[in-house]
């Protein structure tokens, strides 16, 4: 191939996509020829992880700006794909459709929140932080407000939020690796971790960028292909997004017909942990406006405060490109998010409609227990039935499923070949790995650049800085994996907490740093630490039996934290001296795209 790598990107990833589709076809043929389900699962996960590791190795670098910001030459559309992969975690891929399946409207606030936040990213922050020329988010805070304490406070908030998030992602890679490779979870977590480190250790941000693009391609194919296939197979419509209105209405009818029978507490005790029944309407509005809006708002402000997302926009060639790139990111995210409700609809209807061959509600228990896929998923602890009323037929309230099963089991229920299930496993692995990579890198970069280089040893040479960065990467990864192996909390809960932590401490210090010239160091430090402490206090208080106020729950505690942060930041800023002339000039320079960036090319 002629020309440099960047110019050849469309060709490189075109060939890659073709190669991946070719691999799927080969696996499909192998399945027909008798390859076992287990072997297909292993092949899918091993093949894709090998490719990512190869990309990671090819992207190795010894330069600081390549390691921290991929040399600032990632084109708009490709950065969009990388951000989408960075963004869509194991939770988005595996858990989101399940959440919609069980909770309906109230849960879909997350869809709105996790997309609407990008409007804030594009308009309030990304272009200005790109102009700033920083390597990390604390780099911006530290330079704009000045002083080591401000910089360090930002590192603290970043670490709390990102670490909460990353344990969930390593947990997800472990879950998928343990299912696909058929090894115990405690070991699978470390297999997942090593795959993650292979992508990021040698190439830093450069390696992560190019593997994330590759991972996006895998995950989007793995998500969309089954949705379209199932929809067509069920005769629901060849383009599900525009054609499922009848199915949505039919679910409403069935809900009316079956009713939501409340189970006795004693009966529910026999249901395995983590499984749930359908207790909420599918498309009806089942949450109060405030419950919906507060959750959406918390996720939107959290989006605009999460450093692993923000730092993706440091890699674009220009300010203009950073703005456009946010649009592309959201477009690529939209492709998956708009499909999740469709998958939930198809999955639910295929299970509960007695008129469909796959429907199990209304069948006898003996019939259901004889179904192959029921046996498989029951064994995997993701499905459960129990005849509470003793009438011998399965009722809606007697069927329980794990949230993950919507994505993982629906292809099998719909009768798709196993190759699709292997593909879905590879997609889930890609989603969890790409996010984990972004997060671990965000933490390690902040500590190596902002704490080690900027605070501890400003004279360190590049080679030494990058060595420290890599050592930290491994340490943080292992710490995350160790906590993940303990399985303390669910995947989705900790992801939502990460957003709340980030918005509590970082949203206003970041936004006001650009939009309010009067904001000063004292105010920013008070805002960051005060917000984080207030948010954490609220979470602990509600978790330990506190009643909460204003309808703010443990999932939206960031609303309280960020409100405290805003008040503290404004009051303390106004009570102390305004920033000096040089800082005010810096803010003016950040506000226009032209001219040199505030921080030099390598700093």
């Amino acid at each position: 191939m002629k020309g440099n790598f960047i110019d050849n990107l469309p060709k490189v990833y075109g060939i890659y996509t073709g190669g991946f589709i070719g691999f799927i076809i080969i696996m499909a043929i192998a399945e027909q020829m008798g390859m076992t389900a287990k072997a297909i699962g292993i092949a899918f996960v091993a093949f894709t992880v090998f490719i990512y590791a190869l990309i990671g190795w090819l992207s190795r670098t010894a330069q600081a700006d390549a390691y921290y910001v991929a040399g600032r030459q990632v084109p708009t559309v490709f950065n969009g794909m990388a951000t989408a992969a960075d963004w869509m975690s194991g939770a988005s891929f595996v858990a989101m459709a399940g959440g919609i399946y069980f909770k309906g409207y109230g849960y879909m606030a997350l869809l709105v929140g996790w997309t609407g936040g990008y409007v804030l990213v594009a308009s309030l922050l990304a272009p200005y932080l790109r102009k700033f020329g920083c390597y990390t988010v604390p780099d911006f805070i530290g330079t704009r407000y000045g002083g080591n304490l401000a910089r360090f406070s930002a590192v603290v908030v970043l670490t709390v939020a990102s670490f909460t998030y990353v344990t969930a992602q390593i947990n997800a890679t472990g879950t998928i690796a343990s299912v696909a490779l058929d090894i115990p979870f405690q070991y699978a977590v470390y297999v997942g971790l090593i795959s993650i480190l292979l992508c990021s250790m040698l190439g830093g941000m450069r390696g992560v960028t190019w593997t994330q693009v590759a991972q996006y391609i895998v995950l989007i194919i793995a998500y969309l292909l089954p949705v379209f296939w199932i929809s067509n197979k069920m005769g629901a419509g060849f383009f599900p997004h525009f054609m499922l209105a009848d199915e949505v209405a039919r679910i409403g009818e069935l809900e009316q017909q079956f009713g939501f029978v409340k189970n006795a507490a004693a009966d529910l005790k026999s249901v395995p942990k983590g499984l749930a029944g359908i207790t909420k309407a599918h498309s009806a509005v089942n949450a109060t406006p405030w419950a919906f809006i507060s959750l959406a708002l918390a996720m939107m402000m959290g989006t605009a405060s999460l450093p692993h997302v923000m730092m993706r926009y440091f890699t674009t060639p220009s300010v203009k490109a950073a703005r456009k790139s946010v649009g592309w990111s959201l477009f690529f995210i939209f492709l998956l998010y708009s499909s999740a409700p469709m998958l939930a609809t198809l999955s639910k209807l295929s299970l509960i409609d007695p008129n469909l061959p796959t429907g199990i509600i209304g069948k006898t228990f003996a019939e259901v227990e004889a179904i192959d896929w029921y046996q498989n998923w029951n064994q995997a602890n993701l499905m459960f039935i129990s005849d509470f009323n003793g009438n011998g037929t399965l009722e809606l309230n007697e069927f329980f499923m794990g949230g993950k099963a919507v994505v993982l089991a629906t292809p099998e229920i719909a009768g798709l070949p196993y190759v699709i299930s292997g593909l879905v496993a590879a997609g889930g692995m890609a989603a969890a790995m790409s996010t984990a990579d972004g997060l671990i890198l965000a933490i390690a970069n902040a500590i190596s650049h902002d704490v080690y280089y900027k605070i501890i040893d400003p004279k360190a040479e590049t080679a030494k800085r990058l060595l420290v960065a890599r050592v930290l990467l491994v340490i943080i990864g292992f710490a995350g994996a160790t906590i993940a192996a303990m399985e303390i909390q669910g995947i989705l809960g900790s992801v939502i907490w990460a957003f709340d932590f980030a918005m509590s401490g970082l949203f206003f210090p970041l936004v006001l740093g650009v939009w309010w010239k009067r904001a000063n160091r004292q105010g920013a430090i008070a805002g960051m630490l005060g917000g984080l402490i207030a948010g954490t206090w609220y979470l602990v208080w509600v978790r330990t039996g506190g009643s909460g106020f204003l309808g703010i729950t443990q999932l939206t505690f960031g609303i309280f934290g960020s409100a405290v942060s805003l008040v503290l930041m404004v009051v303390v800023s106004l009570m102390t001296a305004e920033p000096d002339k040089a800082t005010q000039k810096m803010v003016d320079d950040v506000r226009v795209p032209s001219g040199k960036s505030i921080l030099g090319k390598s700093h």
Partner: protein, 86 residues
């Protein structure tokens, strides 16, 4: 008022418009979620349901691209666009 102040004034104006549209699609319409869901919307889905699945999400995508283009125009108008060699 200097050139840069005028540029910032316009930029801020665009921000307010962008945030107003963002507010409508992320918060405003969900104040009336229950009422709106009684009405059939695009492709036959109930309105509120459609907004949560596709409508609001799509609106955000379009809004960001629209915003980026408007902001580029403002930068050009005041001579603050980036030059290729920077």
């Amino acid at each position: 008022m200097s050139n840069q102040q005028k540029h910032w004034e316009k930029t801020r104006g665009l921000l307010f418009i962008t945030l107003a549209i963002w507010f409508v699609f992320s918060i405003g319409i969900f104040l009336f979620g229950a009422e709106m869901n009684e009405v059939t919307g695009p492709f036959g889905y109930p309105w509120t349901y459609w907004f949560t699945c596709q409508g609001s999400l799509g609106a955000f995508v379009i809004l960001i691209f629209w915003f980026a283009n408007r902001q580029e125009k403002i930068d050009e108008e005041f001579g603050f666009s980036e030059r290729e060699d920077e």
